[in-house]
């Protein structure tokens, strides 16, 4: 018996594979579309929703053991030389000394276990003598609250970047 081969034409085979893949592609496209929409929605929310926080405090803490580390020659930087605050959102500078010795922290001498809570009511740049820095100066830049829209989105993104930077600096 002679067997006749009827090979599938190449074009027809590709079409069948494409048909088999198309539902998967569609699903992927839908997922990507959904994610993009979610992202856009989030960005729109971040730009338009008012910024609200559980606390207006911007906390900086001297960790326990800082003095001992400094005495051992370790250059410990706890307080950035410039701090940015925003009126109505995070306009209270909260400095806490969790170390065992008094610390000149920003504008105040803070005892062990004590905190210093300094509110700001006017947008301006404040300069304080601060022995915690090599320059001897601490600048606190207090900005007005952001307008809704681009300003608010930019504020949130900068806040996020600051938080990530602080997290990375705090990581051992």
């Amino acid at each position: 018996m002679t067997q006749t081969l009827h090979p599938t034409p190449p074009a027809a085979g590709l079409g069948a594979r494409n048909r088999a893949r198309s539902p998967r592609r569609a699903r992927r496209a839908a997922v990507v579309l959904l994610l993009v929409l979610l992202l856009l929605g989030t960005l729109a929310w971040a730009a338009l929703a008012p910024i609200e926080r559980s606390s207006r405090d911007e906390l900086f803490e001297i960790p326990h053991g800082t003095w001992a580390r400094r005495m051992a020659g370790d250059k410990v930087e706890i307080l950035p030389s410039t701090i940015r605050l925003t009126l109505g959102i995070n306009d209270v500078l909260l400095l806490r000394n969790a170390d065992e010795v008094p610390q000149a922290f920003g504008p105040a001498l803070i005892m062990p276990g004590q905190s210093f809570r300094l509110p700001f009511a006017t947008a301006s740049t404040y300069s304080f003598a601060c022995s915690a820095h090599a320059s001897g100066q601490l600048a606190v830049i207090v900005e007005p609250g952001p307008e809704r829209g681009w300003d608010t989105l930019r504020w949130r993104l900068r806040d996020l970047a600051d938080a990530m930077r602080r997290h990375l600096l705090a990581a051992p």
Binding site: T42, E52, P107, Q114, R156
Partner: protein, 203 residues
Amino acid sequence: MHSSLTLRKRAAPLLLSLLMACLAAASPASAGAAPALKAGVFEPPRAAPEFSLRGSDGAELTLARYRGKVVLMSFGYTHCAAVCPVTLATLAEARKSLGNAADAVQVIFVTVDPERDDAARMKAYMAAFDASFVGATGSTDALSAMRRSYGVTARKQGTSDGYVMDHSSSIYLIDRTGKLRAQMPYGHSAGDFVHDVKLLLAQ
């Protein structure tokens, strides 16, 4: 094809992470209450460091002398051209605004320049703002020790007769019981001092 698939696989977690980060950036709770005092507040408050200096009134000047009053204490010098006169004028205005309650308030101005600020000079300088203000001077060592205990910095700039003193400019708020309650940075209005003094007097 493979690379675009990989890209999509990577894009999804990336987009999700960004979404989560944006959500985390703004916590959805309500705004916190503003602090009661306009000044920076110490928590818990400690006893204000005691000192013994020479008062512009000729008597020994200690903090204990003013127990029962709210003490507003600033550091400066009589040759100061800008910060100190503004601070003292603001405190004088605040005291005037307090009316009868002003009797329960004492302003102390501690010199960072004992070379030039003797008791007589300080007395005349204080009188230009408010006759009730008391100036404090003393030996270089006593004044340095006092500055250290309050975290005050002072540095001489220049060597000739016309030198200036670079010094910290906050005003310290000490309550009736002698506790160092707060520290007001330079630049606040008389109204802010009135607000805080009233709160401290009411406690």
